[in-house]
């Protein structure tokens, strides 16, 4: 793992200054986001959620509470769901992040058309598992990782899978249906 470089001269030892020339210290943070190397220079306190949204302009990941309860900001860090609002970008320098923008399998289908939908995305559409859409990216990333771990959940296991994400619009019933439908679609598509 590389140490994020900061803009002071001495980059071999992690620097300890808050302010250099009246400005907060910043670090070059590099992440592989949805398969692409992305770098931005940010202060240490920049959350991963803000890094994605504002520094990389990937606004699909949303921010709901900034204290880790709602799950709206959930992204995949090295494949596992984490709260991006409870992670500093600088702490995960060098790691790989998958966001909602990276959920669809191929960027375009064979005819160069608009992105194909992943099984989870397709299931959300079929089951009317979203209304305002604000919580949706957090659910989709969580469920995508959850099904990779447990491809054939029972209804109770599907509820457990989404138990850490809040939705204020749907009452969850359709989201649970979508988990089960996504599992079904994945089997149909022969994806593993």
């Amino acid at each position: 793992m590389s140490t994020p470089k900061n803009n002071s001269k001495d980059s071999t030892v992690s620097p300890a200054v808050i302010v250099v020339d009246g400005r907060e210290s910043t670090y070059d943070v590099t992440l592989t986001v949805n398969g692409v190397h992305r770098t931005a220079r940010v202060p240490a306190r920049r959350t991963l959620s803000d890094f994605l949204r504002h520094d990389l302009r990937l606004t699909g990941t949303h921010v709901g509470c900034e204290h880790g309860v709602c799950g709206v900001c959930t992204v995949l860090l090295d494949g596992a769901p984490v709260r991006s609002c409870l992670t500093f970008a600088v702490s995960v320098d060098g790691h790989s992040v998958t966001t909602i923008e990276g959920m669809a399998g191929d960027p375009h289908d064979a005819d160069g058309n608009a992105p194909a939908l992943s099984a989870v995305q397709q299931a959300f559409r079929e089951c009317h598992a979203l209304q305002c859409g604000f919580c949706t990216p957090g659910f989709i990333t969580t469920i995508t990782a959850g099904l990779a771990q447990r491809p054939d959940p029972t209804r109770a296991e599907a509820v457990e899978m989404i138990a850490g994400n809040l939705c204020r619009c749907t009452g969850y019933q359709n989201i649970v249906d979508a988990v089960l439908r996504a599992a079904e679609l994945t089997r149909e598509r022969g994806e593993s």
């Binding site: 302009r57 509470c65 923008e101 959920m103 995305q121 959300f124 009317h128 204020r168 749907t170």
Partner: protein, 819 residues
């Protein structure tokens, strides 16, 4: 009209962008415009005089651009925010200033605005601003407000903002003559909408054009526009407001203008740079809006059949520190308390009182849940006193199907008579009883009791006035490529408006659903609107788009009949093609009709060539555009109802109480509801699911707790408990009934609030049934229930009559066993 789409569970147009992360919510707007960001100094005290504001240390923070206080506001912006809905009974309305002017009246009230390069720096600066306060007495809770030892506003010494009495019939004599009279108190605690996306404003001033564009996460774009224009001294024509994708509203975003909606655009104008504000979760808790908190005193007189002869309700409504939204919520409580019933005489009196807490404005249900709670608990009490079945008591009091339209004799929240247009309550009652298994429940309860388990069943009924006016409008335009652009003035927060209104237009006009695009909440596209609230969008905008689409269809046939040289009556319009009935070869695609509707001098594309002056031989003696006509294939119409339409429903639940832990679990939850014609049944079901979830949250988990100093103790998601999927019953079942409204073209009634309205009443009814003593305050938690059960076991709480009978049966059975 061919009905191909209306009534079908058409998949939503909105979904594709929302499931791929391509939604555009207010904080997503303006990537690349390097907007400055705002943060606010907010009062840490519930009631205080501001003695000094020292910004010296804040100016040192790198990246600070400007700091504003009240002194920086000019003209109308320096005046108090408006009272949106004045009412003669609101005799002591008070509103806040956009930035505090000398005195603050609740924790969270904005005092100063910091503008910086980003939110992190803005918050750093906020921390460094030193405000000196003289602490004044807090007033928290209805009892403290009523006692009026201290005043929230100096010039309102009794803390009463409004007082309203409405009476239908003569309650005094009717009560005196009633064979039975009951008298009791009820409480509902404060709660709130809490959408997952908070409020946000993004303002951009165009110096070249001298115009302002504001994105706001609002339910009322047109009204925000009017307020901003008024407060910042701009012409309406120089202000545009757009509600982009909005992450939920549930009522809280109908309140406007927020202070931030005024001062953030003000900063954008003064600084000549885009300025944005995205509230964080704590800000939302302490500076948006709450609702629900009321205390009721009910006196009811009834006869031996359970018929209500006289109902006298007095209640106190906690309206928080200010009254910018007027008294809509308590008025809704007063009028909707009646539900599906027709009491002999009814008197309702309310006091709306000030407290040093966050303002109170509508939250899904908007006062209805409290009214329903009062009425439904009354019905249960009557049943208990008489030893009657609780459903039977309700049946005895119901308005019958042949009594519509039914005039309740009151004025509703839209200022119009409370006249129920249609409904069939007895049929709903049969349906809900059947779904929940009402008749067979005693056997279920006894079986469970044998296993040491505590079950209870509850029921709750409501009527909901939806679709209040004054109007909504729609614009439908067929483009030359055949696509149909629709614009409506009201806004969307997840209800699928882009889908359902396209369904209506597709059917009314006769075009494929996929060719219709709907824009909502954008004053650039539609300038006259009211807003999204009171379950009115489908009724109001649905009717307006239907009318506008019909106008377009009529014009299309007229223009086509001219081109095809036949009568308009001989034509049909199906799938976007106009053709002669029985002769499909004589046809024109609708896009071409649009071209023909606009006679041109210049052809800018191939399609336009057909409309130019030499391409079509026109009658040289007639003007190309007739006197009563306009170019283009578009229609604009408005729907303005004579009064609201009345949806209705009933819920029932079976709960189980853990005898050791007092945990309350919902074993079964059923809903029957009538929202008239369904445009998209899938979307309606989704609305009901979501409403029930909020209702369950409000019954068992959610409450806002203020301490006596006016500090909100649970201003975070850790302590304000919204339910996760695990807190929902496994399944809730929904039954539909459709009694179309005679008041609008499609027979629609609203569905947005149906799920939430009676839930607290139902859960209270079921828990009371399980434990055998009164549940008069909601929400209830295991801890609260444990406390009540402990008191009950110690004999300090009276049982209900049913509870008394059941426990003596148990004693009797136990004694028999021992004998």
């Amino acid at each position: 009209m061919v009905t191909r789409y209306v009534g079908q569970p058409i998949r939503r147009t909105e979904d594709l962008r929302l499931i791929t992360g391509a939604g555009r919510y207010t904080d997503d707007i303006g990537g690349g415009d390097h907007a400055l960001e705002a943060a606010f100094v907010r009062s840490p005290h519930a009631h205080a005089r501001i003695l000094d504001i020292d910004v010296t240390d804040a100016l040192d923070v790198d990246g600070i651009v400007a700091i504003y206080t009240y002194e920086d506001l000019v003209g109308p912006a320096a005046q108090p925010l408006p009272v949106l809905i004045p009412h003669p009974a609101l005799h002591a309305a008070r509103t806040a200033y956009p930035l505090a002017n000398g005195v603050v009246h609740h924790v969270g009230e904005p005092i100063a605005m910091v503008i910086a390069e980003n939110r992190y720096l803005a918050e750093d600066a906020v921390e460094r601003i030193r405000v000196e306060y003289e602490i004044l007495a807090p007033v928290v809770g209805i009892n403290v407000a009523r006692a009026a030892r201290y005043a929230v506003h100096d010039d309102v010494p009794d803390n009463i903002a409004a007082h309203l009495v409405q009476e239908v019939g003569s309650v005094g004599p009717a009560m005196a003559a009633a064979p039975h009279v009951l008298d009791f108190d009820l409480t509902i605690e404060r709660s709130c909408s809490m959408p997952l996306e908070g409020r946000g404003v993004h303002a951009r001033w165009d110096g070249d054009d001298q115009s302002l564009r504001v994105y706001s996460s609002t339910q009322a774009a047109t009204s925000v526009r009017a307020a901003i224009a008024a407060k910042l001294g701009l012409s309406l024509t120089k202000v545009e407001v757009i509600a982009p994708d909005v992450g939920g509203g549930f009522g809280v975003k109908i309140m406007h203008p927020w202070p931030e909606e005024i001062v953030v655009p003000m900063a954008a104008i003064r600084l000549g740079r885009p300025v944005k504000w995205t509230e964080d979760r704590r800000e939302h808790f302490i500076s948006a809006a709450h609702e629900r908190g009321q205390q009721h005193h009910v006196t009811v007189g009834f006869d031996d059949t359970g018929k209500v002869l006289a109902l006298d309700v007095t209640f106190w409504h906690d309206n928080g520190a200010y009254t910018p939204y007027g008294i809509i919520c308590p008025i809704v409580t007063s009028t909707q308390l009646l539900g599906p019933y027709k009491p002999g005489a009814y008197r309702v009196e309310f006091y709306s009182v000030y407290t040093t807490t966050v303002i109170v404005t509508p939250y899904r249900g908007a006062g209805r849940p409290q009214g329903v709670f009062a009425m439904e608990r009354t019905m249960d009490r009557i049943a208990d006193t008489l030893g009657m079945d609780r459903a039977q008591v309700r049946a005895v009091n119901m308005i019958q199907p042949d009594e519509f339209p039914f005039d309740q004799g009151m004025i509703f929240q839209d200022g119009r008579p409370l006249i129920y247009d249609s409904g069939n309550y007895p049929a709903q009652l049969e349906m809900i009883k059947d779904m929940i298994g009402w008749e067979g429940f005693e056997a279920l309860r006894a079986e469970a009791a044998g296993q040491g388990r505590l079950l209870g069943i509850g029921i709750g009924c409501y009527v909901e006035g939806t679709g209040p006016g004054p109007y909504e409008g729609a614009h439908v335009q067929v483009m030359t490529d055949g696509r149909v652009e629709v614009a409506i003035g009201l806004t969307s927060q997840g209800q699928g408006h882009q889908t359902v209104f396209a369904q209506i237009v597709a059917d009314e006009l006769g075009v494929p659903f996929e060719s219709v695009r709907v824009t909502t909440g954008d004053t650039r596209r539609f300038g006259y609107a009211v807003g999204t609230f009171a379950s009115r969008a489908a009724v109001m905008s649905g009717s307006a788009v239907a009318l506008a689409a019909r106008a377009v269809r009529a014009k299309a046939l007229r223009v086509a009949s001219d081109a095809l040289e036949c009568a308009a009556d001989d034509l049909e319009l199906i799938d976007g093609v106009v053709s002669v009935k029985g002769n499909p070869t004589a046809s024109i695609p609708l896009g071409q009709v649009a071209v023909l509707s606009n006679p041109l001098r210049y052809a800018f594309d191939e399609a336009a060539q057909a409309a130019t002056q030499f391409a079509r031989p026109a009658d040289p003696n007639l003007p190309p555009v007739a006197e009563d006509d306009e170019p283009g294939l578009e229609g604009r119409d408005y729907y303005s109802p004579p009064r609201s339409t009345f949806a209705s429903g009933m819920h029932a639940a079976i709960v189980e109480i853990d005898p050791d832990t007092s945990e309350i679990s919902i074993e079964k939850y059923c809903v029957v509801h009538d929202c008239g014609t369904l445009i998209n049944p899938m979307i309606v079901r989704g609305q009901v699911h979501g409403g029930v979830a909020q209702g369950i949250g409000g019954a068992l988990y959610e409450t806002l707790v203020y301490d006596e100093n006016g500090q909100l103790l649970n201003a975070s998601f850790m302590d304000f408990l919204m339910p996760y999927a695990t807190e929902m019953p496994d399944r809730f079942e929904i039954g539909h009934q459709e009694t179309p409204s005679p008041l609008n073209p499609l027979g629609i009634k609203g569905a947005g609030e149906a799920g939430v309205i009676p839930v607290s009443a139902v859960i209270a009814s079921a828990v009371e049934d399980a434990v055998g003593f009164r549940i008069d305050a909601m929400p209830i938690s295991p801890s609260i229930l444990f406390g009540l059960r402990t008191e009950f076991a110690a004999g300090r709480v009276e049982p209900t009559e049913v509870g008394r009978a059941r426990s003596s049966q148990t004693d009797h059975a136990a004694r028999k066993e021992m004998a």
